[in-house]
Symmetry: C2
Subunit: 298 residues, 2 copies
Amino acid sequence: MSAPVIAFSGSHIDRADHIRNDPQGLAALKTWQARLLRLDGLDPALTAENMLEWGSLADAAPDSELVFLGLDGDRGCFAEVRTSYPSGSPHAGPASWHAMAVLEAGELATYGGARSLVSWHARHRFCAVCGSPTALAKGGWQRTCVSETCKAEHFPRVDPVTIMLVEHAGQILLGRQPRFPVGRYSALAGFVEPGETIEEAVAREVFEEAGVRVRDVTYIASQPWPFPSSLMLGCHAHADDPAITVDITELEDARWFSREDAIDALEAVAHGENGRAFGAPPPTAIAHLLLRWWVERG
Amino acid sequence: MSAPVIAFSGSHIDRADHIRNDPQGLAALKTWQARLLRLDGLDPALTAENMLEWGSLADAAPDSELVFLGLDGDRGCFAEVRTSYPSGSPHAGPASWHAMAVLEAGELATYGGARSLVSWHARHRFCAVCGSPTALAKGGWQRTCVSETCKAEHFPRVDPVTIMLVEHAGQILLGRQPRFPVGRYSALAGFVEPGETIEEAVAREVFEEAGVRVRDVTYIASQPWPFPSSLMLGCHAHADDPAITVDITELEDARWFSREDAIDALEAVAHGENGRAFGAPPPTAIAHLLLRWWVERG
């Protein structure tokens, strides 16, 4: 697994961050040639060929703010931040799951990054320090408080989340959240808190959710997950004692599964089905990639 | 380096997160036995024996909010969020560097986690969604908008930052920021942005800051860095072409250093001095740990 395909990574757009700090350079990109990513609320608009749909800056509402996503060749790519959005679940909805299933990897990554940024702007129109309005700055990679006495600078959030396969005697620990589809089990996961390493967060989450103590935490892979703006940190760890105590405020169930269970579930999910022992997460989820990594290392 | 000592990790306090959601359990901990971490602004207050100084809840100002840090045995540990703080640099100041030099590892971790949380509260008294005031919730692990029509929930930030040793032909790439002490060079670093994996962020930052393309990024270790709330993600990568183009808006200089340079600099910094070729970062910085990892792997 030296070069895994991780959903939401590999955008072809050059972030060209030097332009963010260059008001003249940024203005010069806002021509009739510039591309505006079409969104339906926060969902992607797709063409008949299952590509991202792009328009021109003329399509943006007059009172919208524009986020500079980067360069496609020499053309500026932007996304529109509207003045209001329907409030919705932070989790991926049907339109996002559809996009994950049909979009080319680089296109999906472009959408994911844009979605995280646009939703951050939509939820940060006011200054958390003083309550005054904020205005988009640096091409959308900052918001600045408009109050002359505050002028606080705010930056897009990226929330690190640990997600881990815990192993004991050739089996792995998976859990089931109430909101999961029928039969689905997946890797345990939880946000990294202030004052923790990745490795400490893994150990705390597994103990909180399943009552299992772990050792020898190793990092496997990461994934940006734009619902709304997580950085998934995929890890592996070992447990010496398999006794499980499920925290029912977090999980409906947690169990140990064998390598055969995992192989069967991965085969079944490729056909959209559950395996005999459980239903695996879909290929776009990092939990799927962790399962695949684990069964392939033998 | 199977068990590196990473500054700001290893707090002895049990986060006891189930109590955060239990108002009665939380209230029951606010007794005369509870401990209140003493802070001087955001700096630590130290005893004559170089331990963290703790008082009782009676020491908190009447209009302060209380953050539940966790349990020390069966005693609740809290920190005070005052109504105002002197505005200051987000970087570590002299009092913090002193604490890093003298505090026992677990104590330093307790301070770091508390500092990140308290400074987050101090800068999030208002709702970023609607501008209304917010109130502390869930023992300080959330703030909630007081507006009945909004009620938005806000969570403490943890900002992932990549920091990387790039290697070419047995040498490593280090850079110098203008604010560094005389002679200091350190690993390049930068925030992970929405829509990026750790590995993509490493590649983008090294190219932006030094014009160097990298491959084969591997994760080495992580560190919480409470200035104000970073999660440092220490990585290693390889470069095929050593030609450097320094981005002078970010760095004053960037250069390749040999293993002998690094060994000499690590020896010198143990005595508070610069090495012959450069001054290494202090032992509490993850860049120091990365350098040590690199020279020890031979």
